[in-house]
Amino acid sequence: MTVDFRLGDDQRALQAGMRTLLAARYPREKLRAAVDAPPALDGAQGAPEAHGAADPGPDRKVWRALGEAGFFALRLAEKDGGSGLGLPEAVLLFEEAGRALLPGPLAATHLAAGLVPGAADGTRIVTALDGPGVAEHLTSSDAVLLLTSDTARLLPMEAGAGPRALRARPFRSVDPLTPLHRVDPPPPVCPGVIDTSADAARLRREAALLTAAQQLGSARGAITLAVSHARRRTQFGRPVGAFQAVQHLCAQMLVRTDLARASVYAASLTEDPAEIAAAKLLADSAAIRNARDCLQVHSGLGFTWEADIHLHLKRAWVRAFQWQSTEESEEFLANELLMDAAEENAPDVWWGTEGGENVLA
């Protein structure tokens, strides 16, 4: 039996290790302390410069701990100091990161391991810009991966120089832990930019998949929050989880998450571009809709800043625009339907008015 979605023992150990690391290095208290720190929220209300200075960036201690644990070097060959593992393992770790709401350009730094010295061991933070648009953590990153559909370039920087080098303007991000900059189209010739021979299309696909894995983790985290609340909270004299309406909200959260999970895991095994697009599409929806349903299950108690639900929702909104938007995924998957050569000459009895054979009976 080979078609097998169950995790191998090594994969389970990796996953458990990541959970342990996050519980120790990025427990909920640390998350909440970062969220409640005033500058992260209000930075951009003053001048752009003030905002830039106020961005605390990802926690470099956590970043280095991830580096030491092999998170960034996971897929580098052992001879290059990596673990020689693949996307299936990376997806498991990114899922855990998404569940813990760990902020920072994790996917970009992971992809830059082997391209940017220090990325693999977590001593340098690498963010990315996929075409013109919006970049995260630009102020606090040490390098920017500049991707187009067919080029992958690198811009190493002094810390804090990103916005100037790329003509970027900060804005107040809806996600308190993901500072964002609007970036103009980067000039074709830009001082300090280094060409790489990396396969840009592959990097963008992998980034989309790793982002989908984080969305998946967030969607699963929202289920845990919703179910635990529904069991505990009573209204009208019984646990709200005993109300069919609440049960059904929770059930639908699981349905869309299980679909997204099968899709993300399968895409990590096949690396098929269409499966990756499907994974991103379904994981984006699952993360956003689960956060919404989780909020509905929590009713008023979920509407507070103290509850973590809004952090899941806001992060999910940010990630949905990263690497492959819903619109791009849907268009890609639509066009992929036309590529299915096997159906090119199939007889069209289903549409036709002749003949009794019903090919879908």
Partner: protein, 389 residues
């Protein structure tokens, strides 16, 4: 995690493909749905061909006449036969996928010897007598009575939604043997010969205008005690094997078929200009993601069942089948709505084969447990929420 096939599996796949390539072109066209006897003959002939080639009862245990293949091989079988456009299991559905596995799991040696070989050879057709007018999703409410009289049960009542009843030889029947027992207790599983005196079959016309279902009226029908599978009053547990099976690989072929339909829809939309409508095009793109994921989820559930079977579990997919069915049933309905979008007013043409499919699809969120009940199952059995009632 692994999605690549073993050598043995790939060999099986290639052998099957070769056999299908050779066999399918020689088949006559399947008779229309209005001619049930001809359909029976066609379906049985196909089953016989599978039997002769060694593909019958692939996933049945070898001591039941099957090949003892794991779920993955079964999945490959379903995938390849669907891709090749092979005939459907049709009239043999209940025998091969419900009654047969139940008898294989719970029947005596004599019962297995009597009933299983004719199912595998395509000699005998089974139908299912579970639903009743007052017991749709709620099997515990079933009222068809059976009273022991000498060496026979005397059965009186009626059954609904019995497919292929008119051409069936046997009916797997649930009857109430202990009316005083609470809820699910007091139900017994019987094999009813459809030619027994007192059995009346009345076609039940569905909203699609077709009559593949029937009502079965039972008026003092005598069923020998030897036709009982499992203990008296234990029919609910015996049946669970069947119901759980229904939520396992049962839809695998259909998911493959839906993916093919989607491809055809895209081509048809490109041909008739509707492809330029971004609303429709992106809807097809999203359905592509959904059905791709549903296929992966099928594999997932099958691999879990396979693992459970090999480690001493039941091998029967549980509530994860509900997760699959909840999304699959709605996605398939959405597929037909997208098809209506491709066709425009032409979608009102009931002369096209797809219209019958569209109308049939309306039952998917109802049959074999409504979506409402499936959501309760998922909430309570998987998520551990308190019982709603």
């Amino acid at each position: 995690m692994d999605l690549s096939g073993t050598e043995e599996e790939e060999a099986f796949r290639h052998g099957l493909r070769a056999w299908l390539r050779e066999t399918l072109p020689k088949l006559p066209p399947r008779p229309p749905a209005t001619d049930w006897p001809a359909r029976r003959a066609f379906d049985c002939a196909w089953q016989r061909a599978l039997y002769d080639a060694g593909y019958a009862g692939l996933h049945w245990p070898s001591d039941a006449g099957g090949r003892g293949a794991g779920p993955t091989q079964h999945l490959i079988f379903l995938e390849e036969t669907e891709r090749a456009g092979a005939p459907y299991v049709g009239a043999n559905f209940v025998g091969l996928l419900h009654a047969g596995p139940t008898i294989a799991a719970e029947g005596t040696a004599a019962q297995r010897a009597r009933w299983l070989p004719p199912i595998l050879r395509g000699d005998e057709i089974w139908c299912q007598g579970f639903s009743e007018p007052e017991a749709g999703s709620d099997l515990a409410a079933l009222r068809t009575r059976a009273v022991l009289d000498g060496d026979s049960y005397v059965v009186t009542g009626s059954k609904l939604w019995t497919s292929h009843a008119e051409v069936a030889d046997w009916c797997e029947l649930l009857v109430r043997t202990d009316p005083s027992a609470p809820k699910h207790r007091g139900i017994t599983w019987l094999a009813l010969p459809m030619d027994a005196p007192g059995v009346t079959v009345r076609p039940l016309r569905t909203l699609a205008g077709s009559d593949e279902f029937a009502e079965v009226f039972l008026d003092g029908v005598r069923v020998p005690v030897g036709n009982r599978v499992g203990a008296e009053n234990d029919g609910w547990r015996v049946t669970m094997v069947t119901l759980a099976f229904e939520r396992g690989t049962a839809f695998a072929g259909e998911v493959v078929a839906c993916r093919r339909t989607l491809t055809r829809l895209a081509r048809a939309a490109r041909a008739n200009g509707r492809w330029d409508d971004a609303v429709l095009r992106r809807r097809l793109g999203r359905l592509n993601a959904e059905f791709t994921a549903l296929w992966r989820l099928t594999q997932w559930n099958v691999s879990e069942a396979d693992h459970a079977a090999r480690t001493g579990g039941s091998g029967v997919p549980g509530a994860t089948g509900s997760v699959f069915k909840l999304r699959y049933s709605e996605a398939r309905q959405e597929l037909y709505e997208a098809a209506a979008g491709v066709l425009g007013p032409e979608s009102l043409d009931a002369g096209r084969a797809w219209t019958a499919d569209r109308l049939s699809s309306l039952s998917y969120t109802i049959a074999a447990g409504t979506s409402q009940i499936q959501r309760n199952v998922v909430a309570e059995r998987i998520l551990g929420l308190p019982r709603a009632w």
